[in-house]
């Protein structure tokens, strides 16, 4: 066991865990940030996607001892009031079915929009295909990313 100081959603968080604990389980079990989901544990589904210094990261594959000083953002910290353009677009387009994959989808999309504010459908697909949606909500996920990309952010994203 070891103590780690993490920067999560703008806050300093101290956790005492085994040093190989994947960030996913630190977030879920120790910080109770359960918006980040477990789907496969092997980097294949994207349900566990968070941002590490703004870049998308599969938290199931990232041991906590490799996080260091990086700033972690989870779905809970994507916007203050749940009104990131993607979160709004997700509601407007009525994307979720079971909803389980959706925070991972949104986090992947948020990183894409930060890098490429006006992505083409092709760019959207080429980025988002790493996130599985077992319910097959892909058409609306794609559309919602597009919708969000046409709107200026109302809240500054982290």
């Amino acid at each position: 066991m070891a103590v780690f100081n993490l920067h999560v959603n703008g806050k300093e968080q101290k956790v005492d865990v085994a040093e190989d604990t994947p960030l996913l389980w630190v977030l879920r079990d120790h910080l109770r940030l359960v918006g980040t989901k477990f789907g496969c544990g092997v980097g294949q589904c994207g349900a566990c996607t968070v941002h590490m210094d703004g870049a998308p990261l599969r938290s199931c594959l990232m041991p906590v001892n490799a996080v260091g000083n990086a700033k972690i953002t989870t779905i809970e910290g994507l916007s203050e009031k749940g009104d990131h353009p993607l979160q709004k677009a997700w509601d407007e387009v009525d994307v979720p079915q079971c909803g389980y994959c959706q925070s991972g989808q949104i986090m992947t999309a948020a990183a894409l929009l930060k890098r490429t504010p006006r992505p083409t459908m092709e760019e959207i697909q080429n980025t988002m295909h790493g996130n599985l949606c077992r319910c097959g909500a892909y058409h609306r996920i794609r559309e919602a990313v597009k919708v969000a990309s046409t709107k200026t952010p109302t809240t500054k994203t982290k």
Partner: protein, 712 residues
């Protein structure tokens, strides 16, 4: 044709209950009227005897609707509330939907499966909403001293136009709660529906997109411990010896316990237990045959020739028809096992205490799960509570309750509140799969190319009946034989979204295409001709509605401009499953020498569409799932052990593999007949038929990707 049963004695369903905090609480039961002796539900401070769901209207005008059925993405919570609130004329912005926990053993249908929740509840929900509205109007009329017939309702208000009086539901609620519930209420004329039929967004969207704890895996209770279970890697094995010394000594591990064929590692966090599980040294021995996929192929071939098949349906004289045939077409189709793979793996929380049991988690069948726990642990059902979390997908997997019982058993052994978590490998390797099947179809044609005889034999592994013997084309053919043979295997199987029809439809709709081509008929016209025959000269029992099926066929053919397009290859398929009808036209183009699906047109007849946004999700999701599974889905076995255990080797469809879907609805005003599954079955056949048009290659096995023209 409808097998949906509604109880007519509405009176018994409704009860006005005084709410200590003021406001109106109207209980309504989903049960049959006779069974009115159910114990209380909730809220806790109110005696709601006899009722398992309710609408409450608080004095601030907030309308709460309890939704009893598990939510797994079929959007039931939104649809249920829409139906109630439409009849109620509620202000949709003031509606809250609350998941009801499991009520009692006598609950009539608190489960999710069979696309049945809406058909079952449609009238009950409307009646409940209309009754609440009646009471509010009566309260307003009494208050204003005007006839109730002069009052109207709108968006959460009762209005008396003549005097210009207006009162919100919140301010009328307490008075309304003192009025006797009427025996009969008038339901709306469907043309006055304000919510039903509209695209209403999922009531849970905001919680989902902000990552709120909604799912079973998100549930946490102070003092709870975590557990992961090692189960036999192969079906047919049992434990011979367990060495857990290393696991027990690892940090964070509380205990390792063995029960049945399970070795459970219990600890303080998920990672602690997952890590420790890897150090277990468990020896297994074969208890039953350890089957491989190659064995199954041989078993299928053998059973295909069995003289001991179970006859599912026999019309006319099939032998004579085949003897007199001018031509016989004979083909076999095959589908492999597939896992359900809901994105949220199995998990459940259980706390077995001295005085009762608490269960919390994602289940499609809370009632059956509770009964099983009660039977195993000998605790009466009324001492067991089940709270239903949101389900991160189900697809039929969570109709089984092995994972609930297992969590309860573990809690009873360790005497602690425990959450059992399955990894993806546990989940994909854990059984209850869609069964593997093979079909043999035979058609006898006369000299005029008319079908005079039809045979279908289904052989399956733990599928019981792989046939839907009274579905189309049964009823349209004079001489017909449908039978099946089953192989019993240690590999466990279960219902998978649109059970049986999800593979049978592919095989049958492909075979009908073969017949059409062999007889020089247009596949759409041939189906319509058969339906005409079934209508004019029906043979035997017919489970489908001939006119509804004909309508979706014609409508989708017209939408897709069937047979009129030059630049695409079209394939047709239509299927009746559960109680709804879906016709599909798939369009394929050739790209780099390979067929590529470009678009699927789908026309669905599910009766009244309640939520046009949610309905589109079900159709588009169903088609995407149907295509993805037909194209890529396969679980193969080697010595009893699945060869695919995670998404690295098991391929699910991804965003870059989807195509356009044009989905529309017949919307004929018939009471709703369900939509969670029916869009899926026709897809495999539509795709295979279009691929045949494009390439001349008939795909007869799933997954398509392993067959020509994708693989040489």
């Amino acid at each position: 044709m409808s097998n949906i049963r509604f109880n007519n004695s509405r009176r018994a369903f409704l009860k006005n209950i005084s709410l200590s905090s003021g406001g109106l609480l109207l209980g309504f039961s989903f049960m049959d009227a006779e069974a009115s002796d159910m114990p209380a539900l909730m809220p806790k401070d109110v005696d709601v005897a006899g009722f398992n769901s309710y609408i409450s209207i608080a004095n601030d005008g907030i309308v709460s609707v309890f939704s009893p059925n598990p939510e797994l993405g079929q959007n039931i919570r939104t649809s249920f509330a829409m139906v109630v609130c439409d009849e109620l004329d509620a202000d949709w912005n003031k509606v809250k939907v609350i998941q009801a926990p499991l009520d009692t053993t006598k609950f009539d249908r608190q489960l999710t499966g069979g696309s049945g929740a809406i058909p079952h509840s449609w009238k009950r929900l409307r009646n409940a909403g209309a009754t609440a509205r009646y009471l509010l109007v009566a309260a307003a009329a009494a208050k204003w001293n005007v006839p109730a017939s002069e009052c109207t309702t709108e968006n959460g208000y009762v209005l008396h136009k003549a005097s210009g009086k207006k009162a919100g539901y919140g301010e009328l609620a307490t008075a309304a709660s003192k009025i006797t519930v009427p025996g009969e209420v008038k339901l709306k004329d469907p043309k006055d529906f304000k919510l039903i039929g509209k695209p209403i967004r999922n009531v849970e969207n905001q919680n989902i997109v902000t990552g709120k704890p909604l799912f079973g895996l998100d549930f946490y209770r102070d003092g709870m411990v975590y557990a992961t279970i090692q189960r036999p890697p192969a079906f047919g094995q049992k434990i011979k010896s367990v060495n857990a010394d290393e696991a027990k000594s690892m940090p964070g591990i509380i205990d390792v316990v063995t029960f049945k064929n399970n070795v459970a590692v219990v600890g303080r966090s998920t990672w602690d237990v997952l890590k420790a599980k890897k150090t277990l040294v468990v020896e297994y021995e074969a208890e039953k045959t350890l089957e491989s996929s190659a064995d199954h192929a041989q078993i299928f071939s053998k059973l295909m020739e069995s003289t001991d098949a179970k006859v599912r349906r026999k019309d006319g004289d099939v032998e004579a028809a085949f003897k007199n045939a001018a031509k016989v077409i004979k083909t076999e189709y095959e589908c492999p096992f597939v896992p359900h793979n809901p994105l949220e793996p199995m998990n459940f929380f259980a706390h077995v205490r001295e005085d009762g049991i608490e269960l919390v988690g994602p289940t499609q069948t809370p009632g059956a799960a509770r009964k099983a726990v009660s039977d195993l642990l000998k605790v009466p059902e009324d001492k067991i509570t089940v709270d239903i979390t949101r389900l991160g997908g189900g697809f039929g997997r969570r109709l089984k309750f092995d994972y609930v019982v297992e969590a309860a058993e573990l809690s009873s052994i360790i005497k602690k509140p425990v959450k059992v978590i399955w990894t993806r490998e546990d989940d994909m390797g854990g059984g209850s799969y869609r069964p593997a099947v093979r079909y043999r179809f035979e058609a006898a044609l006369d000299a005029n190319n008319e079908i005079i005889g039809y045979k279908c034999r289904g052989v399956g592994i733990n599928v019981e009946n792989p046939m839907r013997q009274d579905n189309f084309p049964s009823g349209s053919i004079d001489n017909l034989l449908i039978d099946s043979v089953e192989h019993q295997s240690p590999i466990t199987t279960g219902a998978w979204r649109a059970p049986v029809t999800n593979f049978l439809a592919f095989a049958e709709q492909s075979f009908l295409d073969e017949i059409a081509l062999a007889t020089g008929k247009d596949p759409v016209q041939m189906r319509l001709d058969l339906l005409k025959r079934a209508k004019e000269k029906p043979v035997g029992p017919i489970r489908y509605d001939i006119d509804r099926m004909a309508t979706v066929i014609k409508t989708v053919a017209e939408k897709a401009q069937w047979g009129k397009k030059k630049d695409v290859f079209q394939g047709f398929s239509v299927y009746f499953s559960h109680a709804s009808y879906v016709g599909q036209v798939c369009e394929v183009v050739m790209k780099d020498g390979k067929p590529k699906v470009q678009k699927i047109y789908a026309v669905s007849d599910c009766g009244v569409v309640i939520n046009s946004s949610g309905a589109l999700q079900q159709v588009m999701g169903g088609i995407t799932d149907g295509y993805g599974t037909a194209m890529f889905g396969k679980l193969s076995f080697r010595n009893g052990e699945p060869e695919q255990k995670n998404f690295d080797r098991y391929r699910l469809i991804r965003m870059n593999e989807i195509f356009d879907i044009d989905a529309s609805f017949v919307n004929n005003g018939i009471d709703p007949t369900g939509l969670g599954e029916p869009a899926l079955p026709p897809t495999g056949g539509a795709v295979a038929n279009a691929i045949f048009k494009a390439t001349g290659v008939r795909i007869k096995k799933q997954p398509f990707i392993d067959q020509a023209p994708f693989k040489s």
